[in-house]
């Protein structure tokens, strides 16, 4: 009788270990997928920008500086080396894009242009997606870290070498500063 109980305990323990291990594997894979998803959205933005610049170029002759800044920031972001560098360059691209979108408000003929409206919507949606992709990555990485650190799943995590996940955050303090948008552009003539 005693050996039967012992057997039952061992079987239950193994079952628990298997379930916990699989849960950790699931979380780790979702975290990796979440990280890649951020890149997918960043790439979507890279692809959309040339279209937007071409569409507004004709009407916004006075904003050539802003337009050039956008294309340059995009090129730099695409050529970034490593995740930390990419994060910084993508942040700069976001700022420059924000300036361009704000400035477009000054051109009424652009505001009524369907193509521009659509591209603005696409860009704003892409900014949202990039934000959400980072948010999802952080949320799932936090779930993984909690599972790694809590007892008793930390026993399995340490036994099978599950590494902690790093959260995505602002590394450059200048990114925390609220961007000042200068809207005092020359009026169209």
């Amino acid at each position: 009788m005693g050996s039967l109980i012992l057997l039952a305990i061992i079987v239950l323990a193994l079952l628990w270990a298997m379930i916990t291990y699989n849960r950790l594997v699931g979380l780790r894979n979702q975290t990796q997928n979440g990280w890649r998803q951020i890149d997918v959205q960043l790439k979507r933005r890279h692809d959309l920008i040339p279209n937007l610049v071409n569409t507004v170029k004709g009407a916004m002759e006075f904003e050539r500086d802003t337009l050039t800044a956008v294309m340059d920031a995009r090129a730099r972001a695409m050529a970034a080396a490593g995740p930390a560098d990419a994060a910084r360059k993508e942040g700069e691209l976001s700022q420059v894009l924000g300036r361009l979108l704000a400035v477009t408000e000054n051109y009424p003929q652009l505001k009524s242009n369907e193509n521009v409206k659509q591209l603005q919507e696409e860009l704003s949606s892409t900014e949202n997606r990039i934000g959400f992709a980072r948010q999802f990555y952080n949320d799932i990485a936090t779930k993984l870290n909690i599972a790694r650190q809590s007892f008793p799943s930390n026993l399995i995590a340490n036994a099978f070498g599950f590494a902690p996940a790093e959260l995505f955050g602002i590394t450059d303090d200048t990114d925390r500063a609220v961007p000042s948008v200068d809207l005092s552009m020359k009026p169209p003539q």
Partner: protein, 322 residues
Amino acid sequence: MNFLEQEAANRRRTWLVIVFFVTLLGVIGAGLDVAVFGGGPVPVATLTALVIGTVSAWWTLRWGDRAILASSSAASLADCLAAASSDDERFRLQQYQNVVEEVAVAAGLPVPAAYVIPDDDPNAFATGRDPSHASIAVTAGLLRTLNREELQAVIAHEMGHVRNYDIRLMMVISALLGAVLLLAHWSSRALWYGGRGRRDNRNAGPALLILLAIWIVAIVLAPIAARLLALLVSRTREYLADASSAELTRNPLALASALKKIDTAAEPTEHINKGTAALCIADPEGHEVNEREGGWASLWATHPPIPKRIAALEAMAGTLGH
């Protein structure tokens, strides 16, 4: 409470209700199996009722989404875009598609199929057996009434239902409900017609009489209790979906604002029938329960009163520092 705490509380409540349901099922089933079938090793009655309940629920889960979408005259987003009559309408539809894709990114799930229902009353629902086979439908009225932020919050609420497997849960609840009602029905039949043949068992003593009494009470209360429990689960999952919307958008006030707009436009959504009510964001029958709080009537609602939902969302906003 912040949204994570609210989510945990709602999940715990759901488990409690399921345990209660299974207990009720067990009590009635055990009574029937012992009293009528002589209490053999195999609980025939309980198993039969469970099988019938499960098969009907599985069928609805597998094919139900197509039926629900068809019965509400939902048109796919692609069809709507093709039939769009103005640039404005096309833009709105494209925005709707973008919002659905954004929320899918936030939830880390595949993009659900998007549909539009030709009804002026603002409402939305989600359906589908799991996140890989999910559909979200909104009424034309919703697209017209809400701004982009509010639309995002409502889609996030529906995505919350998908992510939390609420559709599957409601199927399980409906299987349990079906099984309980079947057993209660059979039991009351057995008591009425078959009870006379069991007189020889009556000398078994006070313990058995007490169990018999419990069984009879369970049979009498079961039809109402089981339905009320199912509705309690429905309301709990609505609160959970609201908290999930806040988790996905980190913007609970947007959902609160959307609910206020939906509330003031609360006329019946004719295209959504009663069976689908539990999957909607607002009660499609436009019940005054949305206004009145508490009391008997609110126990029969599929959705919590909107003022309470808004209060819960504002509490979440407080914890986010808004």
